[in-house]
């Protein structure tokens, strides 16, 4: 067996290496773009400082947050198919954004984003309220409530779009997710919540392992299941709400990055959580850079790039690991 000390230092070293890699990749991606300038001129332009840099920062933050949330949900719900949007937070945010677009708030600095955030937070409150019995939270009810609410809200959005043809395009574009309008303001709003949320998940990462063995077993092994589950869900949903409000719905990252990490390093969440921070960040950075550079000067929806790149990658990993068994 491996010595106990090795195990932790491996993860720390790997995380550090990935952190450095992420910073380098951010810098590299920020130098690439439609406007092709040499380095020296580029550093003197606002294109670099006020457009590309905040954009890559937001991408990295959201990528990390989504994959950590996915990891957490998959353990808390003991269901490999859960992703950060499963509780309906994304549809809640979309409804807020759709309403903001219909009311013509696009021009306002915080118009769409703040409406999306408020309605995402209301959705969370509603779901937690419905799925709590006394002070206990039933995970299956929580999942089902989330799925039902997603259908309900999606239906409302469809109706809104049907009644307002002229705004249809901008609503659809918002829901597909994009970092095109990322600003430093977005970064400063989302970053603290994401740091806090990830810290909470890291703090409880051993409990995630125990939760995977079932709530009664976890309880009998000393986990305060109700408390831990409640805190994890609270902070992760908060992260998701802020991310969705800042950049719309970006699928696939939160579902598949945790699984890829798991296939590569095993099922110990004390390693999966730190590594999925960087795996998610790097993956989304790659996808967003492709989205904005593949067919200049147009931009592709980043959500479709994540699936186009991610799905084959995941299937390959799955295939490879199956052969190993």
């Amino acid at each position: 067996m491996k010595a106990p000390s090795n195990h932790k230092s491996h993860t720390v070293i790997l995380s550090l290496a990935l952190a450095i890699l992420t910073v380098l990749a951010m810098f590299l991606c920020a130098t690439m773009g439609v406007v092709d300038l040499d380095m020296k001129t580029l550093f003197q332009t606002p294109i670099f400082w006020n457009l590309r840099l905040p954009r890559v920062c937001l991408v990295v933050i959201v990528g990390a947050a989504l994959s950590v949330c996915g990891t957490t949900y998959q353990a808390v719900f003991r269901n490999p198919l859960t992703d950060p949007y499963v509780l309906g937070i994304s549809s809640g945010a979309s409804l807020g954004a759709a309403l903001a677009i219909l009311m013509g708030l696009e021009a306002h600095l915080f118009g769409i984003g703040s409406m999306a955030l408020v309605s995402a937070l209301l959705t969370i409150l509603l779901i937690f309220k419905v799925a709590s019995i006394g002070n206990r939270m039933h995970t299956t009810s929580l999942l089902l409530t989330g799925v039902c609410l997603t259908f309900l809200i999606t239906a409302v959005i469809s109706l809104l779009m049907a009644l307002h043809h002229d705004k249809m395009e901008s609503i659809i574009f918002w829901t597909m997710g994009s970092f095109a309008s990322a600003s430093w303001m977005d970064v400063w709003i989302v970053l603290p919540i994401v740091i806090l949320g990830i810290a909470v998940v890291l703090y409880y990462s051993r409990d995630l392992n125990l939760l995977l063995t079932g709530s009664e077993t976890a309880q009998s092994l000393g986990v305060d299941v109700e408390k831990v589950r409640r805190r994890l869900l609270f902070f992760t949903t908060l992260m998701v709400a802020f991310c969705v409000s800042a950049c719309g719905v970006i699928g696939f990252v939160g579902l598949v990055v945790p699984h890829c990490v798991r296939l590569l390093i095993g099922s110990d969440n004390r390693r999966i959580v730190p590594l999925s921070i960087f795996a998610g960040a790097l993956f989304l950075l790659l996808c967003d850079t492709m989205a904005r550079t593949l067919i200049p000067p147009n931009e592709l929806p980043v959500g479709s790039i994540t699936s186009l790149v991610g799905a084959p990658m995941f299937i390959y990993l799955l295939y490879k690991s199956k052969r190993k068994l």
Partner: protein, 251 residues
């Protein structure tokens, strides 16, 4: 000392346990016997504080279990459940290591001591050679022994087991019971075990709690608990004792 005082439990309108009072002394090896649905598992779950009785209380050394936080509970009572999880991807070693959770601080890694306790518990249950296997690669008996190893790694004074032998062939049933007797003798661990095989109880467990129709009808030495009359009353079968064994027939 584990003390069960006037415990009543009901699920909806249906009473599962009715006014159970019993004391289990330190170092006892006690079988919980009774027909299906008489509340044996519920009693264990109440003792482990996984569910709360409607009335009455359960105390360990005069402290009610309902007041103990999960972490302290897990340092006092280990629970081997009826159906071990088979759909998870943790190796046997990682599984047993989880038994050390109640002693570990957050963000801290396992100590050398945790590792040596895990190895010792796995060797004791004859599972050390399985340490890299996942549940899906193990047989029912092997998995059951891993679960017992995890419970041992919790180093609790009290061990609860819910039908640990129910899916095992006769040789493995003996193996598990011998292991438990060994633990009971050498470490003085208090063991409460739900079993269905009356002869296993007779052979290995000096004490018995006999449950019937939500009530505790006998608590005491197994040999005195299992009389032909009582077996007839509880299980509705004819039994006779032959050379320390029960011969059981249908009515």
């Amino acid at each position: 000392m584990l003390s069960i005082q006037n415990v009543t439990y009901s699920y909806g309108d249906k009473e599962i346990l009715h006014d159970i009072t019993a004391t289990v002394n330190d170092g006892d090896f006690c079988a919980i016997l009774g027909p299906n649905g008489c509340g044996k598992t519920t009693l264990l779950r109440c003792i482990a504080n996984l569910t709360k009785p409607k009335e009455g209380s359960i105390t360990i050394n005069d402290t009610p279990v309902s007041t103990l936080p999960p972490r302290i509970m897990a340092q006092n009572i280990a629970f081997v459940m009826q159906h071990p999880q088979t759909d998870i991807d943790f190796s046997a070693f990682e599984t047993v290591l989880m038994g050390r959770n109640p002693y570990q601080r957050r963000l801290q890694n396992e100590s050398e001591q945790d590792w040596s306790i895990v190895e010792q518990c796995m060797r004791q249950t004859n599972t050390w050679h399985l340490r890299l296997s996942t549940p899906s690669q193990m047989s029912g008996g092997e998995l059951q022994r891993v679960m017992i190893a995890r419970a041992l790694a919790q180093q609790t004074p009290i061990l609860l087991l819910d039908e640990p032998t129910s899916n095992l062939d006769i040789a493995h049933q003996f193996e598990i019971m011998e292991l438990l007797r060994d633990i009971n003798h050498k470490k003085g661990k208090t063991i409460l075990i739900v079993v269905h095989d009356l002869n296993l109880a007779l052979r290995y467990c000096p004490e018995t709690m006999l449950l019937h129709d939500t009530k505790l009808i006998y608590k005491g030495p197994t040999r005195e608990a299992l009389t032909p009359e009582r077996i007839h009353e509880v299980f509705e079968v004819e039994a006779s004792i032959m050379d320390d064994y029960l011969k059981i027939d249908k009515v």
